[in-house]
Symmetry: C2
Subunit: 523 residues, 2 copies
């Protein structure tokens, strides 16, 4: 068996698709990579969704140990792919080997963190309120509640993280951990990578004897494939990472269903950065260099790439701008993961350049997916007047804005919609001196960073990767970190239910030893 | 100042509306009650929403002690209204005095529970992951996160709980506790009650020196009023309790906003009840009497009223049905809270009676809002063929279905959409003998009850009042109990932020003494 045969994984079956063919593409040369992938058929979509629905109860009833074993087996499988995985990812995305190995490590770490979380078990937030049969005027019943899985989740693979936010990425790991079957719609920019990873998940599900409908991977390029999955009655939730247009379209479809379902779409962000006066004067050049490096990482293909930088006119500002310009425009053009990313970048730059901005670019982009870093500059009033200047340009572009004073800086910050992050650089009292600027940013973002760069999303319990719309479709959840499991679960309550028939987490003898809230006290 | 002057409370101003007049109505006589209430104007809506938006940051920055004081002051104010409140609620809703006093006690209890919750403080779910500057290959930053308020919440008062789910009810209490300003759209069935309670909240906000936009109450009957509030850009979330048509309409409006916002709509339920064979044989008559009493409470005007009862053919079934019929149809007709409830009940019965059902009613309904209890019967195949038979009839109607065997019972249960509750009566191994029936019910409801009745929603941390659609628009939240605060908050994360500028809950010295998760361990 070749590593790549154009396989879809449909609820335990390994089979080709039946629709239009497409290929992975080497972003550097534009050459098509074998094999061809045939778009998933309507019959395959139906079968995957029906099987996921049929598997939901049995998969929900698996023990946390079984699901943890699945997550760890997937992680082991990803490691066992060795250089085969690195070569395919690199071929399909032009991401360098070190990045691919780093992203694999992060993906395996995520799987392991969720395995640990569910083995420990307290994440189900078990609460018990004991009966008081003699209470007046009415007896109090025995009530017990914990979190239970929603059911099948459709996961849309992201182009920019072919491992960590794709077939076995964070959305899949958190869904499987919760006890929800997963149907992945693989991103068409890296079908070969998706097949390799999909086979790992498929094999692990089979080897561990889990229900066949626990996992499916469907390849395709059409919006119709994703739409059919989101609209299928068996599907109970959706996870998406990508563009605003894509995420909003799926959100709208889900909201219009007869039974609306939750969609968590993380849709990127311009990640504003503010450099306050003392920091600007003392280390403006260093901050500029760090921000440029952050914006240039993977050609700006991070959701958290710093896209808007605000400074106040004063000492250090000219030097800051000079370094930002030099570092950005002095950087070579480089490949994006797909020619469509370059096309989107150039379209976005075209929109922005039609507005009152100045733009300085580096010189040449030769490869079919190459993009050139760009430094844009606009006045605060231009930013206030043009919402397009306040939203993401996906790629290595940074918009710099010099504000006259704190009031103007605050006005610009208060004009922002939601973003994933905001970053503030401040020294010697700066952070305390601009409370309204910082409060305006804090209210608009998921994560507020002091004296750093927004790229680098730590995978840990405290992480928030999400934020007010349009950073995400629901600000109450995070796409990264163990709390992201909360997207796929709901509370269920048992009243006066016999001990022997309760879930283990809710029994008096607490055989799993989880932390619980009993009569309002955590024990 | 009279207790009733037709006042709206618009962000600190006490003023009449300016639109079409309407009155509270005595449901028993149909007589209009003074004073007239003038529908809120567009200008009042705009002012209330703008003020709520303007107050959001300041109200979010209040201390938990300040907000707890507000909640307790509202509770004290409700108690201080004494018989004035009872008289007006009774006049407007025909609910008896004992019920009104009980509902007031529950409302005050809810306010107190949220005050306790936020004073204790651990509900913010603070998580800290400390820096590891020396970690390889990359240093780990310091990350800290907690829950923060979403911003202004629009609350729609419910007709059936004029206190506990209206102006100062659970949605308002949980929103204020979270730090979210509230705009209440008062239910037009009890404007005088709303005014009394609104004045209590208004006075408490003023006396405690909180921002004027913290609270508004707008009266009105039009859908346009609610729509304008839900669509206002300053509004960040919506709480609703009522009909499916109303809740879905608001959900759709919110989903279609430029910035979609969360809507928690609790839309009622038919609350299926299954009586298993041993219980049916041993105590079927008692169960039937208890279910009839539950269905007759407040003329069936509870979200959790038992509307569908399923039994298996066998010993005790005939006696069960006989008692159910006697208790339901032997009960007198009685008043609903508003003539529109009677109209809706008769419309629903008309829809159902056009399907293959038999119906036995009690005799006469004389008052303009009176409804007669009805026992309906249908075959399992009629229920399977007609979704209308599986959904709520709001009022004192019970549909009884005798199933041939366990397989048929299971098929009927698997045909259900989401409900708030399901109840199973079982003796001597019944509950263990029907695992698939019980699993089918469990997956479709928020709360599963053994050997009881679904009415009576305990207010405690373990309660789940919600469930899969159409019981609620989002199954991941509850409308009752302290966990209902989670509807109005989102996580926010601070990275490498200076200690002195962090919220108290996230500082190393933990001055509020809240329970936190530090480096993955709860301390």
């Amino acid at each position: 068996m070749s590593a790549h045969e154009g396989a879809h994984f449909v609820a335990g079956a390994v089979e080709p698709g039946g629709g239009e063919p497409f290929h992975g593409v080497d972003p550097k040369s534009g050459a098509e990579l074998a094999p061809a992938y045939l778009e998933a058929t309507g019959e395959q979509i139906e079968r995957a969704a029906q099987a996921a629905g049929a598997a939901a109860a049995a998969f929900a009833a698996t023990s946390p140990q079984q699901r943890a074993a699945l997550l760890r087996a997937i992680g082991d499988g990803l490691n066992a792919l060795g250089d085969t995985l690195v070569e395919r990812v690199t071929a399909e995305t032009a991401l360098p080997a070190a990045r691919v190995n780093g992203e694999r490590a992060r993906t395996v770490l995520q799987l392991g963190q969720f395995a640990d979380l569910i083995e420990e078990g307290s994440w189900v937030d078990a609460r018990i309120d004991r009966a008081q049969p003699d209470r007046q005027p009415l007896p109090k019943p025995d009530l017990r509640r914990m979190l239970v899985p929603l059911g099948p989740v459709v996961v849309f693979g992201a182009s920019n993280f072919p491992l960590a936010y794709s077939v076995a990425g964070g959305d899949t790991a958190s869904s499987l951990a919760a006890g929800c079957p997963v149907i992945v719609k693989g991103h068409p920019a890296h079908p070969g990578t998706s097949e390799l990873v999909g086979r790992v998940v498929h094999d692990a599900v089979q080897r561990l004897g889990l229900p066949a409908g626990t996992f499916s991977l469907l390849h395709g390029r059409s919006n119709a494939l994703g739409a059919a999955l989101v609209q299928h009655p068996a599907v109970q939730a959706v996870g998406f990472t990508g563009s605003h247009a894509g995420g909003r379209a799926l959100f709208d479809l889900a909201a219009r269903r007869a039974q609306p379902i939750p969609v968590f779409a993380e849709m990127g962000s311009a990640n504003p950065v503010v450099v306050l006066p003392n920091a600007l004067a003392a280390r403006g050049a260093d901050v500029a260099a760090a921000l440029a490096a952050s914006a240039l990482m993977a050609q700006g293909q991070f959701c958290t790439s710093p896209g808007i930088v605000l400074t106040l006119d004063g000492p250090g500002n000219d030097a800051f701008v000079a370094v930002l310009r030099e570092k950005l425009t002095g950087a070579a053009a480089g490949p994006t993961v797909h020619a469509s990313i370059r096309a989107g970048y150039e379209r976005a730059l075209g929109e922005v350049k039609a507005l009152p901005v100045t733009a300085v670019s580096s010189a040449v982009a030769s490869g079919s997916s190459d993009v050139c870093p760009v430094l844009l500059a606009a006045t605060p009033s231009a930013v206030l007047d043009n919402p397009r200047l306040r939203s993401e340009i996906y790629g290595p572009a940074v918009l710099h804005v010099t504000c006259r004073d704190a009031a103007e800086l605050r006005r610009v910050c208060e004009s922002f919609d939601g973003h994933l992050t905001a970053t503030v650089h401040g020294d010697g009292g700066d952070l305390a001196a601009y409370p309204e600027v910082i409060a305006a940013l804090r209210r608009r973002v998921g994560r507020l960073i002091a004296n750093g760069v927004p790229t680098g999303v730590e995978v840990c319990p405290s992480m928030v990767h999400g934020g007010p719309y349009p950073a995400a479709t629901d600000p109450r959840f995070s796409a990264v970190g163990t709390s992201s499991i909360q997207r796929w679960v709901r509370p269920a309550c048992w009243q006066d239910w016999p001990q022997a028939l309760l879930p283990e987490e809710l029994r008096d003898d607490n055989p799993r030893g989880v932390r619980r809230t009993i009569d309002g006290r955590v024990v």
